[in-house]
Amino acid sequence: MKEVKCECGHVNPHGTVLCESCGISLIEEKAQGKLHDMRYEGSARRSQTYNKTIIDKIWNFFSSVKVGVWLIVVTLIASALGTILPQEMYIPTIMTPAEYYEDQYGWFGKLYYQLGFHNLYSSWWYLVLIASIGVSLVICSIDRVVPLYRALKTQRVTRHESFLKRQRLFGITDAQTVDETFEKVKENLKGKRYKIREEDGNILAEKGRFSRWGPYVNHCGLIIFLIGGMLRFVPGMYIDDMVWIREGETKLIPETDGQYYLENKEFTLEVYDKEKDNKAFSEAIENAGMVAKNYQSDVILYKKVDDSVAGEEAKLEEVKEYDIRVNEPLKFEGFALYQTEYKLDELSSMSFNLVKKSDNEPLGNLKIDLNEPEKKYDLGNGYSVEIMSYFPDFEFNDDGEPRTKSRVPNNPAFVFKMLTPDKPDGEISFVAIQQTVEPFGDNEYQMKFAGIETKDVSGLTVRKDSTLWFFAVGGFIFMFGVAQGAYWNHRRIWIRRKDNEIWVSGHTNKNWHGLKREIGMILDGSGIQEPKDQLQDE
């Protein structure tokens, strides 16, 4: 590869368009327009100069902004596709996703499911898209920041006439009317916080070069952010679990390696009250019917202090008491417990009276703990009740036999054997909610329903996310870089003597209006004419 030596003596890397030092055009004049293309200072973008090996070809592919923009646009469209129907994680679990999409959205839903759009954001091709954007970010940045840095570092004060002439802001003033030392101008430039460099009486005033690095800084932030996303897949970095705890219950918190326990003292659901709450809400409450005000679990966090293993009674020490509410998770050791779900009024116990059908006289009362019923309840005076079978979540199976669907007492049913002095062998009775079956004919005795007790259940999300720091740092750097690039401008003003003339050129990476105003103020009273905007002459 040949390096290019400029007539000013500076040696430029191959592919340079404008000499890094004096700014003269190194390519044929014809290829240049009326104005210089100042993007990347006309420096050599390396990618475009070597294209031999497969590595170079891949490199060049990702180094192209055009490819980068296409990747962004394709990702954008793909993301939009995923919002047409709800994603799998947001559909109810009443049926399989395949059935659900077809049932709810017909042929379109079926197609959507078959194309895999129900889980679009974790599909391999979406990940590949995001990853390609990441690769493009790295390569584009490396490919541009190095030559840009070189060019800005090497730039000379005295620029070639052709360079000045081809700046968007350019003007010539007759030197006789001007104070040759530019004292006033320099003072004004300093007042505007320009850094001034001089050479042979020529001036280069520059400020805000810092803003040129904004894009590369924000790309760094994005890359750190993406690394955070990648780390999420490393085992143990990200935990997403759930624990359901009944009121009064103490339970092991999953994923804490058996170290932490949580007691649920009470769950509260509050709704807004038209009378008691802010009167301004009354109409809205009326229209909406019911508006939730608070979901809250009052809990105590315990830490295990002995060496007990799972299943063994552990010695617990209270760590803290806390009221978990929405927006107020309980945090400990990198974990956070969130109030996400609840179940009101789960049955906890049921009471029955044993009565003789003929006179309805209660012969004894039993209260059954629905999570752990006794085998036998002695009611005294020779009366007792035995539980033959217990179905906490009762249903009939396909064969018409009673069974339970789960261990949760959603719909308890019992097979009781009632032992009484006059029926010492006992009478069998099947009792479910609002239902009594006497499989062996009419009984003389009956278990009469006498009330229930309920408890609320809190559903808490157990979350640990050790990758958050990457996202926070990446996000911060990104914001910093974006602000750096967007809210500062890189401005340069060249003032050059040429024979009997003063040439002034101005360049900024954005906000030309601002630069023009500023140049106006700087040149005010110096006798130098404001440079013209050559774009607006057209």
């Binding site: 490199w59 990648m230 897949f233 390696d257 293993v309 299943g311 069974r403 261990r407």
Partner: protein, 175 residues
Amino acid sequence: MKKQRLIIRTVILLVLGAAVIYTLYANFTKDDNPEIEVGKKAPDFVLTDLNGEKYRLSDFEGKGVLLNFWATWCPPCEREMPYLEQQYQNYNDEGIQVLTVNVGEATVTVKEFIDRHKLTFPVLNDKNQEVLTAYGVDPLPITFLIDKDGIIKKIHKGEIINEAVIADMAKEIKP
């Protein structure tokens, strides 16, 4: 110069490529519970059976352990019970202990189930679901094969459909 540039580019592309491939790979082999896998030590536990007798997993070191999790409301669990029961005695002679863990149902319910299926092997009841949590059990049934050193040798997810399956599993953990 030129060569150096090629090397730098190659290295950067390799690093980026490796990161992408790792992410894709990890995304498709997402494991919910990294603590529980073949080759790792089985978490120790203590549970009582319905007669109040305590069982501690680590007490069985030196023997192979077949650890099965089940519930009365799980039909495949119910179907595999006879195979476990038939083989229970044989295994015991071969130095393999069968332990089954119920998911913490009411004692009455479990007792009735045991009586109905005439089960003789130890049935432990995980009342607080602590062992279930430790083993990341979901869904049922699931069977862990633990060797004489307490190392998990095999995890069988789902129903044991015949005796041959058990026989194969037993081979792995015979001391």
